[in-house]
């Protein structure tokens, strides 16, 4: 395929993915807005007002970056895992597999769809947060880069989950038992400096902590961990998961007999 044909194939998958989640916006775009609004009301306004400042910021301001990123992580992952698994389940993944579209385009198209939904939801949640706080961004470049890389990373993870999944149960196990606990324990609602030394060390093994802190650094200019380490970790995971996903696709694991 020529570069132009490859671009058309990529664009086709991306547009299809975007139309998919927009078509079912009540399931995909509305729930994160409602959930996050509840977080802001309960944790930010009601409980947050009793907590006072955290790391020199009002509690509401402190949790905003984490809540935005949490929504981005959850939705970019959910988009790819549900879309790709549904394609497998209905066998319409075969439309792509019989075509000359290279495997990396199939992967990037789906991942870009996940990133798109992550960003869409990120904007919605950011919009909701403006009802509760005045959001000002300290470093646009870092904020944008972290949100893009994080959405990319979790879209890749969702893709791998979908490839291995054999039932609809399999696509909910990782989000429920791995992703959600790691996100909640990833410093969304608290600074790890509040934890005893041992639990601080344990928290450092949680990759989501680095992403939340890098994003918080972009918005507030404050972080529990070094920003370079966070970027190194995110990029390292992206390379690892991209290689893994390509291996699965090239060998037809989970998608070809």
């Amino acid at each position: 395929m020529s570069a132009k044909e490859i671009y058309i194939a990529f664009q086709t998958i991306l547009v299809k993915e975007i139309l998919r989640f927009v078509r079912i916006w009540i399931q995909t775009l509305l729930p994160p807005a409602i959930t996050t609004a509840l977080y802001f009301v309960i944790f930010g306004s009601l409980i947050g007002s009793q907590i006072g400042d955290m790391e020199g910021f009002a509690y509401m301001d402190f949790i905003v970056p984490g809540l935005i990123l949490m929504a981005v992580i959850t939705n970019s992952y959910a988009n790819v895992v549900s879309s790709f698994y549904s394609s497998k389940f209905q066998h319409n993944i075969e439309e792509m597999l019989i075509s000359p579209t290279p495997n990396y385009v199939i992967l990037l198209g789906h991942v870009a769809g996940g990133v798109a939904r992550g960003l869409f939801v990120g904007f919605i949640v950011t919009g909701v947060s403006l009802f509760f706080t005045d959001l000002s961004i300290d470093n646009w470049f870092i904020t944008t880069l972290v949100i893009l890389l994080t959405a990319f990373l979790f879209s890749l993870a969702g893709f791998i989950n979908a490839v291995y999944a054999n039932s609809f149960d399999d696509i909910t196990i990782i989000p429920t038992f791995v992703l959600t606990p790691l996100t909640y324990l990833g410093g969304v609602f608290y600074s790890i400096k509040m934890l005893p030394d041992f639990w601080q060390d344990v928290s450092l093994a949680n990759p989501i902590l680095y992403m939340v802190n890098a994003f918080r650094y972009g918005i507030l200019g404050a972080s529990d961990i070094a920003i370079g380490t966070a970027f190194g970790l995110i990029i390292g995971f992206i390379i690892l998961l991209f290689g893994w996903a390509m291996y699965l696709l090239n060998n037809g694991i989970g998608i070809r007999k």
Binding site: E5, T12, N92, E94, P100
Partner: protein, 306 residues
């Protein structure tokens, strides 16, 4: 000569050690309308799956218009259009989008894909349904949608895996007409079907596969010539009371106005009708008791199984 499809010693062993293909050799000429027949589980869909890159082969080689599946997979894919046995489109997408998107996977610009989609949907009688979600289509419409989708990139080889399963006779015949037309325009077609009269009507050459092996690969004409005997059912104008005397012909009386006659290869129908006329027996209509290909198919498959 470059074949549309050339398969050599193709083997497939699944993970559970089931040997689905035991060394198939097959050639399909360019422009052919080729039938690939066999009972359920014979290996037809596995063969098609391998050709279309949905199933990994265990060994052997496949080439399409001279392009090798192992070394030129993208070129092979570019030349093939596949209509699978099961509906495999996203039922939550509009009809038009399904076909246009398929064009996109082949690198066809959206505007061009839209033009081609319009032409195909009109030809296949689906244009009015273009904005319907695919799940709302009837079974026959879904089959036609899969044909439109398989043709949007104008493949030189179209593979149809039971395209008319569950389709009513009227739509089936319109699909036959459409397929004949695109074959005449140069598209090579490989057809698998359980409707043997469909294969007999449409296909020039035929291969029969059973238990992972090819049991026959010849022209339709040569295959039908293998029939030593055909059984005809004769509907008579008037009732008769007893079996007429027809010499060497084996004859049975089904009821007072219906006869069944076995006609051997060397026997002649004119002679049969002459003998009937001599006894004042007039034949209103005549039909094969069993489809000729069906009879041969059963013989070949049973012979192999024995």
């Amino acid at each position: 000569m470059t074949y549309a499809l050339q398969i050599q010693d193709l083997k497939k062993v699944y993970g559970n050690r089931f040997e689905a293909l035991k060394g198939i050799n097959l050639q399909v000429a360019q422009g052919d309308f080729f039938a690939l027949l066999g009972p359920n589980g014979a290996g037809k869909s596995t063969t098609i799956g391998i050709i279309s890159s949905l199933i990994n082969k265990s060994s052997g080689s496949v080439s399409v218009f001279g392009f090798d599946l192992d070394s030129d997979r993208r070129e092979v894919k570019r030349h093939i259009g596949l209509v699978p046995q099961e509906f495999n489109f996203n039922v939550f997408e509009p009809v038009e989008e399904i076909v246009i998107n398929q064009g996109g996977y082949y690198g066809i610009p959206r505007a061009e894909a839209r033009v081609r989609t319009e032409a195909l949907l009109k030809q296949l009688g689906l244009w009015d349904k273009r904005r319907e979600m695919a799940r709302n289509l009837s079974g026959g419409m879904k089959r036609r949608l899969m044909i439109a989708r398989a043709l949007v990139h104008r493949p030189k080889l179209l593979i149809l895996d039971e395209p008319t399963a569950g389709v009513d006779i009227e739509i089936r015949q319109s699909m036959w007409k459409f397929l004949k037309e695109i074959n005449q325009q140069g598209t090579t077609i490989i057809l698998t079907t359980h409707y043997l009269e469909e294969a007999e009507q449409l296909c020039r050459n035929i291969a029969i596969i059973n238990d992972g092996e090819l049991v026959e690969n010849t022209s339709m004409k040569a295959l039908l010539n293998q029939l030593n005997m055909e059984t005809f059912v004769l509907d008579l104008n008037d009732d008769i009371q007893q079996l007429p005397e027809l010499g060497n012909y084996v004859i049975r009386m089904l009821d007072s106005s219906t006869l069944e006659v076995d006609v051997e290869k060397q026997q002649c129908m004119n002679e049969l009708f002459g003998k009937l006329s001599a006894q004042n027996i007039r034949v209103r209509s005549m039909r094969n008791k069993v489809n000729r290909l069906e009879e041969l198919f059963m013989t070949l498959v049973e012979k192999k199984s024995a």
